[in-house]
């Protein structure tokens, strides 16, 4: 499974990356990778309009806000 955090490098995006990593760690998932996409054009290609955004398995789960660790955990189950 793949989680992607998309952001322009702002503090909010870093926080989302931390939350995503924490969610993966707390669930003890070993084969889940958290990647950070910084490329604005890439975000646009994927139809994201607001950063930070998070995608799980290529599906946009949230954008323009920072989902909590608990919320991210739900998407991973």
């Amino acid at each position: 499974m793949k989680i992607e955090v998309l952001g322009s490098g702002c503090p909010a995006c870093q926080k989302l990356e931390q939350n995503a990593k924490k969610a993966v760690e707390e669930l003890g998932l070993k084969n889940v990778k958290v990647e950070h996409v910084y490329d604005v054009n890439e975000m646009m290609e994927r139809g994201i309009t607001f950063s930070p955004a998070i995608m799980v398995e290529g599906e946009i789960k949230a954008e323009g806000r920072i989902p909590s660790v608990e919320e991210i955990k739900k998407w991973l189950k």
């Binding site: 998309l6 322009s8 490098g9 702002c10 909010a12 910084y38 490329d39 604005v40 054009n41 975000m43 646009m44 139809g47 994201i48 309009t49 607001f50 950063s51 930070p52 955004a53 323009g64 806000r65 920072i66």
Partner: protein
């Protein structure tokens, strides 16, 4: 009814704003009556020349907390209501095609989104590449953080309605003019000529309890994100205040062309977290800043900063970034001078 949710949101926002305006005007009315009778309202946290320096930042913070808590609360409630009930697609939908109208929609629609300057960079890139093009994208980029509902409310309550009018009129015109000029200069080099911007528009039904819950959640997110920055900003202003003397402020930031140019360039370069610009300007006016430099700073401060320019430079070339920054600097000066012409002096209560 189809747009029940949207109308409910608008009703809520009008109600909150109306309440605040009535409250503020009633307070101002009462205060002026007291002053007429010779009774001056007492400052609960006074800062006098005898106050020890270490207490100044603390007292500054307390004094703002006491004066502004209600207006901050309403500002956050309104910002949250915008985010919850006004569908973002409504604005973005109209920025999908090239048309002269796109400039107006970018300028007036941007503030409705009420999001911070760094989170709109992907949308900026999308408008530029797939949507209305470079000019409207620039207008959108500059108008969105410059005027948001929370900042307008705080400006009204802590500065004056004159600054509200000046800010809205001048910031929107500056954003539109900059967009048009940048399009004229660099538009043909940056034209990607791609397909149209697609926006999915999900119309949501009004469900009172979950919607109100979502509203409070959004309000809380704003509070958690912005309030610590505002307090930190005020605290730092309190520290800076110890070292600034009225003579220095009046010389470098008093009324005048050079002073306005100086205030405008500070605004372009410095990163000002949203809402912090207001106590910043309020304190400096108290120390002798002119109305012209004050408005120039309000125009450029929240709209531009080095970090946001770095972010934008990922989506357009640096020459475009430098062009819009310089145009905004000049428009900041012009805006400041225009404002100083109409409002040469202001007394903040």
């Amino acid at each position: 009814m189809k747009n029940k949710r949207l109308y409910f949101g608008i009703f809520l926002i009008v109600l909150l704003l109306g309440g605040l305006v009535v409250y503020e005007w009633y307070g101002a009315f009462k205060k002026s009556r007291l002053i007429e009778q010779g009774v001056y309202p007492k400052e609960p946290f006074p800062i006098t020349p005898g106050t020890p320096a270490w207490q100044v930042p603390l007292l500054t913070l307390l004094s703002y907390g006491q004066k502004a808590w209600l207006c901050l609360l309403i500002a956050f409630l309104v910002a949250g209501a915008f985010q919850t009930f006004i569908p973002k697609e409504l604005v973005i939908k109209h920025l999908g095609k090239k048309s002269p109208k796109a400039y107006l929609i970018a300028a007036f629609g941007g503030p409705l989104l009420s999001v911070c300057s760094c989170s709109i960079i992907p949308l900026f890139a999308a408008i530029k590449k797939r949507g209305a093009g470079l000019g409207p994208a620039i207008t959108f980029l500059l108008a969105t953080p410059a005027i948001n509902p929370a900042a307008i409310i705080l400006t009204f309550s802590m500065l004056s309605w004159k600054f509200v009018v000046g800010r809205i009129v001048l910031a929107l015109s500056a954003a539109i003019i900059t967009g048009l000029l940048v399009e004229k200069i660099w538009g043909r080099y940056e034209d990607d000529g791609k397909s149209e911007l697609k926006v999915q528009y999900h119309e949501k039904e009004l469900e009172l309890i979950p919607d109100l819950k979502e509203w409070f959640k959004n309000v809380w997110e704003f509070v958690a994100k912005i309030l610590p920055l505002v307090f930190l900003g005020i605290f730092i202003i309190g520290i800076v205040k110890i070292f600034l003397i009225t003579e220095v402020i009046s010389r470098y930031l008093g009324q005048g062309l050079l002073q306005t140019a100086f205030a405008s360039i500070i605004g372009v370069v410095m990163y000002t977290p949203t809402l912090v610009e207001i106590p910043f300007v309020r304190e400096l006016i108290g120390l002798g800043m002119g109305t012209g430099p004050a408005l120039a700073f309000l125009l450029t401060g929240p709209a531009l900063s080095l970090p946001s320019m770095l972010g934008v430079s990922k989506a357009v070339k640096w020459r475009v970034v430098l062009t819009y920054a310089s145009i905004m600097w000049i428009l900041g000066i012009i805006g400041g001078l225009v404002f100083a012409h109409f409002v040469p002096q202001i007394l903040l209560v």
